[in-house]
Symmetry: C2
Subunit: 221 residues, 2 copies
Amino acid sequence: MSNDENIYRQILRAIVEHQLPPGARLPEDRLSEAFGVSRTGIRKVLQRLALEHFVVIEKNKGAQVNRPSEAEASEILDSRILIEPQLIPTLLMHWDETQSKRFRAMAQEEKQAESANLLADSIQLTARFHYELATLSGNKVLAHFIEQLCYRSSLILAAYGTRGSVGCECGDHTQLLDLLDQKDADKAQHWMSHHLKHIKSSLILESKPEENIDFQRLFGR
Amino acid sequence: MSNDENIYRQILRAIVEHQLPPGARLPEDRLSEAFGVSRTGIRKVLQRLALEHFVVIEKNKGAQVNRPSEAEASEILDSRILIEPQLIPTLLMHWDETQSKRFRAMAQEEKQAESANLLADSIQLTARFHYELATLSGNKVLAHFIEQLCYRSSLILAAYGTRGSVGCECGDHTQLLDLLDQKDADKAQHWMSHHLKHIKSSLILESKPEENIDFQRLFGR
DNA sequence: TTCTCTAAAATTGTATACGATATTTTCAAT
DNA sequence: ATTGAAAATATCGTATACAATTTTAGAGAA
């Protein structure tokens, strides 16, 4: 793996795992020092992260971890609700015992990470479950998009998630695996849709009063 | 608009309009000379174009216009077939006479460009019709994804399109607008699905024998 | 203390330098 | 004429330099 790619993944991981919270600044000097490369390489990955909406770069002010707006959060979840259930029929064509075992192992890990309160692992595994499922559909273009949406969802949880609700409380992913084993496309689709809607509704999408205070409207004549 | 963004759009436009055909090399020196900026700025936009799959960057060999594989072409069209019809119900909620007129004007322009054999305009307008429609759904995240897929579709047409089939022969986009005016979601969805499938089936997805010849398999023991 | 203004430090944006790698050209030998 | 090797050229990857801008720190006045 190229060095750039390596740096990219490390920073992305830190953001997705909430080590770098929304709003955190990412000065190029410190990063270049930390990774032992010049600012050139750092700028390259920051620009990539900005394109992917994990950071925001403001001219002359550098990069900071993106704080997704409520609209963005809503749209990301809506996108997943629209696409992920639709992938299930195609995915089922590739579903066999090998896959079933693989995903059950993942779900198991997830459960353990959650009960051990390993937040970082829990976040990673939850996202991974979804996008590996998407990958199984065989459409790499869509799977990559879903992967991005899953990671952005992790960022959303950092901003709007209720404490401890990294995953979903409505049972767990093994329920979906049962339906897939039964090759019940309809029920599996319905479950996925419900699952994502549940996550969306669990977000606290309330205006954070601290930012974007419109003093003009508040106090202006 | 920032200067980088400007350069980005100009190069993207040249690629999408088939001014720069798949495989064309993009030497940083020439571009920096042409745009009057240093290689730094050029590299920035080339890296962005690479992330968006419009160009491919090979280590120490620079960038060239991407030649989408058959698999990639197929997946992009499949993604559009999956998503775009699904956007229609949401889109219809925002459909009114203003929009109808706007899109009819666009369809008209399209027809004119096509009959005048203005390939570049024709390509742009066809793509724009689709992603502006997606934008109307209100979901910017999805609309942006569709926009990218539309542009990549233009690149696909450059590689696999039958001569003169930039658009779709099955009538034209005004048919869809009629259905939208009637608020007939079902028929509009069906039309969109058919439209995209037609485009996909019109591609000549045959192995190009010139490249990737496996001499080992051919002649090796 | 609290505010404002100014100087210092930090940080970013862009160009350039230079070693490393790839490509092309040249030219001799078969 | 074709092949192959070697030099010359072109191109890329990375670090660095420097001007422009922002942020921070500090001194003085109310």
